[in-house]
């Protein structure tokens, strides 16, 4: 019946996995979302977003995004954050980055503001002397509200996801594909959206992204 496609933490793939070089700029576009059953088949919800990033230091990048699909629904949604490389890659030992993010939303209908802090972490491996890299990691959204609809207690305050992805890096362009296992500890039964997953927990998200560096 209804396809309220609502896992907002799953609107986008990991923004910046590996920090940019100092002074480098990056603009990216991403498409994809949670898999749902729709018209007898399974499709990823086509969330879209734009993201801009800037390398402040060799191991520190700032970024900000605009969720285009949300905007089309009258909701201004952005995530602002930084990515810091905690450990550089050494051979088979992966590089590790952490990205604290502020997700901000505001709608034109009832002027309601929402803030969701989140933190991402990623392990990444460049391979075969190329700039391509493979990564695995996690995304963690936090719900700060204590109550939900009709003054019921909000039970879940941590909404995790685990991602795996690959970035093909060319001199000026990058192409990324990512899969996420979203909210993997919570049942996907008895809700209005027909999320698709490995079993009866969470949902799988599929994303593609393209970016250009300056």
């Amino acid at each position: 019946m209804i396809f309220f496609s609502l896992i907002l933490g799953a609107c986008a793939p990991s923004r910046i996995v590996k920090p940019l070089a100092k002074g480098e700029k990056d603009v990216s576009f991403s498409l994809g979302g949670p898999l749902i059953g729709f018209a007898g088949t399974t499709i990823p919800i086509p969330f879209t977003s734009l993201c801009g990033a800037y390398g402040v230091k060799e191991n520190l990048t700032v970024f900000g995004s605009l969720h285009v699909t949300s905007l089309a629904y009258g909701v201004f949604q952005t995530d602002l954050g930084i990515v810091r490389e905690m450990i550089a890659q050494k051979g088979f030992i992966p590089g590790i980055s952490i990205a604290p993010t502020a997700n901000l939303m505001f709608d034109k209908w009832e002027s309601t503001f929402s803030f969701y802090p989140a933190i991402d972490y990623n392990f990444y491996w460049n391979y075969k002397q190329s700039q391509n890299y493979f990564y695995v990691g996690g995304t963690n959204w936090f719900e700060l509200r204590s109550t939900r609809a009709h003054e019921e207690t909000q039970q879940q305050h941590w909404i995790p996801a685990f991602q795996i992805g690959h970035t093909f890096k060319r001199p000026k362009m990058s192409y990324t594909i990512e899969a996420k296992y979203i909210n993997p500890f919570v049942s996907n039964n008895n809700i209005i959206v027909d999320y698709r997953s490995f079993g009866d927990k969470g949902t799988i998200g599929i994303y593609i992204g393209i970016s250009k560096r300056f």
Partner: protein
Amino acid sequence: MRHSIIFLTLVLLSSCLRLDDNLYNSDNTISEYKFDNYEGEVDFVLDTSYKIPENKFLMFTLTSDDEGDKAEIYAVYLGDTSTISEDTVIMYCHGNKDHMDFYWQRAKLLANVGGNCHYGVMMIDYRGFGLSEGVTTESGLYADVNVSLNWLKNKGLTNDRLVIYGFSLGSAPATEMSAENYSMKPSKLILESPFASAEVMVHDASSLAIPSSYFTNLKIDNAEKIKKVNQPFLWIHGVNDAFLAMETHGEIIYKNYNGEYSEAVRVDGADHGDVPNTMGFVEYMTVIDNFIKK
């Protein structure tokens, strides 16, 4: 500055998309109603012992006026229209799927509660469903049910013999008619697999307590509206409802009811659309009959 203006313009102009219409899963492509001969998907099919005699079936149209937005809607009455002034009538508000053909078996089942056509049953296709004209809206739902109640009233039905029954989406107009002042005030309210509010749908689907206004302008809020209902209330819900969870939707409505009498029937093993057949038709009809006679 130029970029700011472009950005603000984008925000203001690009916000016409809403998910409201997704609530109404209607089919208005049919050219006629088939009722017993309908071969499309239905939740269950009754055997011939539930058949409605031809002289106890009437299909007709009504003109529904939603603050100037007029639509001709289709209605059926199961029972003897000449005895509405004496009979007890169930106003059946169907769910959000397709049209009356999909709900025909359910209406027939209710028309067999207490015996064949013991109670009159009225069912309509809301505007935008089946052959009914117009576009479905929240206020249109209420206007369409209201004009039906007005038709019953003009046939001699009185409030004390009117029972309103809402299934799924139909829980909204059923609760609204029971709580507020319309053409008639039902004496009893029955909700099967009701939904609490758009907000609960959003919260269930996202796991977040996120404002529902981010997705929909729907104001339907049965969980709040039920607080204004004082008439006796019967709530029936499938324990395994995979669409509108019993715990987050039905239980909230039941908990918020503060009226004179309430009864809950939680049906083990039942999903959203199979409560009557999971209960067993005889048991289901007995529960309805006993409640109406209370």
